[in-house]
Amino acid sequence: MSQHFPVLIAVLPLAAALISPLLSYINRNLGKWLVLTAIGGSFISAVNVLLTVLSTGTPIHYYMGDWPAPIGIEFVLDPLNATLATLVTFVALMVGVYGTSFLADADWLKTAGYYTLYGLLTAGLAGMVITGDVFNLYVFLEISSLACYGLIALGGKKSVLAAFRYLVIGTIGASLYLLGVGYLYGITGTLNMADLAERIVPLLNSPAVYIAIGMFIVGFGIKMALFPLHGWQPDAYTFAHPAAAALIAGIMSKVPAYAILRFFFYVFGADSFVISTGLEIMGILACCGIVLGSVMAIAQQDFRRMLAYSSVAQIGYVIVGFAIGNVYGLIGAVLHIINHAFMKSTLFLTIGGVQYRYGESNIYKLGGIYSKMPATTVAMVIAAMSMIGLPPTGGFFSKWYLVLGAMETGQYLFIFIIILSSLLNAIYFFRVIEQIFIVPDAKLKEVNKPKGKLELPWQMVLPILVMGLGILALGFWNEPIVTNILNFALPEVLLR
């Protein structure tokens, strides 16, 4: 049993998602609970794998159907992606529990549709993280993308257009990735990442590889909304189904960033000319994205739209970390993937809570929320502080490592951009805080009245508090994460 944990991470939610419509037809709740249990099982598997990898110190190789690599599909779990798999499944679990209250009154078809898509999204994201096969990565990328289009379209009236737009652009991105894989397969004859990494070495300076890398940058750039390919994101995040928005915003754009890390540092090796040029270009684009995203965020009136633009900026931090390219830069980037998943999810969870209760997501209608929804406010403030990067929240520490890495290599532009971005972040988050605490009560009409003593149903309060306080925990315990997990996984990359 225990040797099958790696595959269970992806297979459990995948299988559950496919069975759930049938069960939902029998009873509305059965399908829902099946998917949630499966995601829970997936989380437990991921934790298990993470602990095993950390205690043995060697990566786990799992061969699908016992077909050895490079012929069969291989899952490789090292400390880095085991951590990320844990992160993906944990956030998916939290957001899944949170989503139940949004669908409390939906009919069986809508419930079934939602949870099928949700399970597929989780399976796709987890699969992308753990796979060691470039084509398999494409398959999971498409699974997650299609599920994501569906979840965005479920959001309401305006969401269909946003979803369609994302579908068109996103498909272009995925196709570009597939074409790139085609080029690589054409010159190396393999799809296995480890195998590819060996065979590509003499061919790194061939035009085919250049083209493939260019396609990867554009393809993944679209998927993670790297400036200037971010056009789809604001609408998609704003109109996505509020129950799933937290997972889409927190994880969906981070996994392609992880894929970039995997390809550029593990498969191709960052010391080659073409990769370092590619990273440099992405670094510059990321800087533009950080500034533009932050400025645009300041201009928004809708909380979710502001968060979407802020995501454009925040993904820039991760890419800047890659572009810095030393140990500290990579630690900062990966830590920021984790931190940002927590803080962006928390922010979407909290604004989703406000939407659930008052049907409002306009920043200027949040006056007096703090006395009506104290727990939500606490989580929101913590997440906002983390976005600005103030200690002792998690966001400070990823920034610390990024600045440290940039200082070490003398890339002062990145330091300037990171500091500037912190200050711009401060502008738009303190604007929200002013609204919450200073402006008089906005007298909103309650759409859903919570039944018990809590401000929201417990299914919502629990994830909000866990994720919100998790940001503080990540701040306090970032050092164990760095020394035990990231330090352990990353220097090996740089030795190549």
Binding site: I331, M385, I388, L390, P391, P392, F396, F397, W400, Y401, V403, L404, M407, E408, I415, I419, S422, L423, A426, F430, E434, F437, I438, F476, W477, N478, E479, V482, T483, N487
Partner: protein
């Protein structure tokens, strides 16, 4: 001489007790008496914990504890050295008095949002303790930013447009410079491989080009200068006077602004070191700026009619004494600078307490309306007069001792100009504070405004009497109770030890 290190968790307890109190205060929102009890219990516990460390620190030992590592290679470490003990002891002592005063003030004034007020106040005190005792720059920065954030709710306390603007101004000043400070810290870490505070400095001239060191020094000192309200960065402090008076008293005269001055002290004495700074000449500029601030702020203070604003400008000037003393770099001026942290805190908190007491009792905020108020409130105004004389540097009041040492330090470095600045500033201080006392005691109250009012409420009167008495006691016996003068001397000695042997 490296002091003996005692591994002890007490520094963290001192920080943690008010953090915990802040949580408990939040949960006792509906019961004001329970809520205030938490504040008082925490204040007393904190002062007990801090002062229990005093004997050992005084005898040259150091308490140190690392809770966990903040980031790779840097511990979350608190260390009670002489300088830290001085600041922590002083703030925790004054917090007890301010807690009583706050309760009297807030209830007497029927303020809203009291729960948030007391909780933020407790967090501020935790942060101040952390700043006092931080053993390295990273720990220092964490508490420095916590202090920034925790002060914000206090500045916006009134929730009106003026308070909102003051809050924005405050954030702009402090967050921008905080980020520059962070970049400076990272630079120090990359260059030296450590962020630990070491008396005498950790940087040396061969580590980077001189101009880089100068730039980094200003980036780091700037954060302290802004918090200390040095000109031209004093704007936020004056606007922040919209906060309730106890906040102005403890935070905008003691904890926050002193944390800024203390940051300059740590950067000068424990990161760059006087030897390096004398070599690259960066401290000189800061000293000139401080001297400029001392004179100009006094001149502006004379023009203010609002009592709190006048005191705010006085604070701006007095804080620059600390920066000036630090940047003269002489052993005696360092003693003077550190002791002025104690001296100014005691005197200025008295003045603000008095201003608040007058405001709550009579609802007068402008000096021109205070004619004859001394007849109605003799104790308050006597305390005010004593503290005013101290600010001006009269002997037998605590301000004299610090200024005397500052002047001696200026002589040590053969910088007589600074002595002229000190004398001029003393005269200016007399001319902006004495008129208040004159107005209160010798002017006839023509409108008969104050007939219906008496002396201030005891909750406010007793704390302000105690601080006024302490100002006199410390003026005669500077080592009374807290050994603050000895602590200042020890710290100054350790800073200058490696440079000129710490002798005078």
């Amino acid at each position: 001489m490296t002091p003996d290190v005692i591994i002890d968790i007490r520094p963290f307890l001192a920080v943690g007790v008010s953090m915990l109190a802040a949580l408990l205060i939040m949960f006792s929102d509906k019961k004001p008496n329970v809520r205030e009890a938490w504040t008082l219990i925490a204040a007393f516990l904190k002062v007990t914990i801090i002062f229990s460390m005093l004997p050992a620190v005084w005898s040259g030992q150091v308490y140190e504890y690392t809770l966990f590592n903040i980031v790779d290679g840097i511990g979350f470490t608190l260390k009670t050295d002489a300088a830290g003990m001085l600041f922590a002891g002083l703030s925790s002592f004054l917090w007890v008095l301010t807690s009583f005063y706050s309760i009297g003030y807030m209830r007497g004034h029927h303020e809203t949002h009291q729960t948030g007020y007391f909780a933020s106040f407790a967090v501020c005190m935790s942060a101040a303790m952390g700043i006092a005792m931080a053993a390295n720059l990273a720990t220092f920065f964490i508490f420095f930013e916590i202090l920034t954030l925790a002060t914000y709710p206090l500045v916006i306390h009134k929730r009106d447009q003026e308070a909102t603007d003051a809050g924005r101004k405050y954030l702009i000043y402090t967050l921008v410079t905080g980020q520059l400070f962070l970049a400076g810290i990272v630079f120090v870490y990359v260059v030296t491989g450590t962020t630990d505070f070491v008396a005498g400095g950790i940087l040396s001239k061969d580590m980077a080009p001189v101009w880089v060191l100068q730039v980094v020094f200003f980036m780091m000192a700037l954060a302290g200068m802004v918090k200390a309200g040095m000109m031209p960065f004093h704007g936020w402090l004056v606007s922040a006077m919209v906060a309730p008076t106890p906040v102005s008293a403890l935070l905008h005269a003691v904890a926050v602004v002193k944390a800024g001055a203390f940051a300059v002290l740590r950067v000068v004495g424990y990161v760059f070191g006087p030897a390096l700074l004398a070599d690259i000449g960066a401290a000189q500029w800061l000293a000139w700026l401080a001297a400029f601030t001392i004179i100009v702020s006094s001149l502006i203070a004379m023009k203010q009619d609002n009592l709190k604003r006048r005191l705010a400008f006085s604070t701006v000037g007095q804080l620059s004494y600390v920066v000036l003393g630090t940047c003269i770099l002489a052993p005696l001026s360092l003693v003077g600078a550190m002791f002025h942290i104690v001296a100014h805190a005691t005197m200025k908190i008295t003045l603000f307490f008095c201003a608040g007491a007058i405001f709550v009792t009579t609802h007068k905020a402008n000096i021109s309306e205070m004619q004859g108020i001394g007849r109605q409130m003799p104790f308050t105004m006597t305390a005010f007069t004593v503290a005013s004389l101290g600010i001006a540097g009269m002997p037998f009041v605590v301000g004299f001792i610090s200024k005397f040492n500052l002047a001696m330090g200026a002589l040590q470095m053969s910088q007589p100009l600074y002595i002229a600045v000190l004398i001029a500033s003393a005269l200016l201080a007399l001319s902006y504070l004495m008129p208040v006392s004159f107005m209160a005691f010798f002017k006839k109250n023509e409108h008969g405004d104050f007939q219906s009012y008496g002396e201030a409420d005891k909750m406010m009167l007793i704390p302000l009497m105690i601080t006024a008495i302490m100002a006199v006691v410390w003026g005669i016996m500077p080592n009374f109770g807290g050994h603050f003068f000895d602590l200042a001397t020890m710290a100054a000695q350790s800073i200058t030890q490696s440079w000129i042997g710490g002798a005078w």
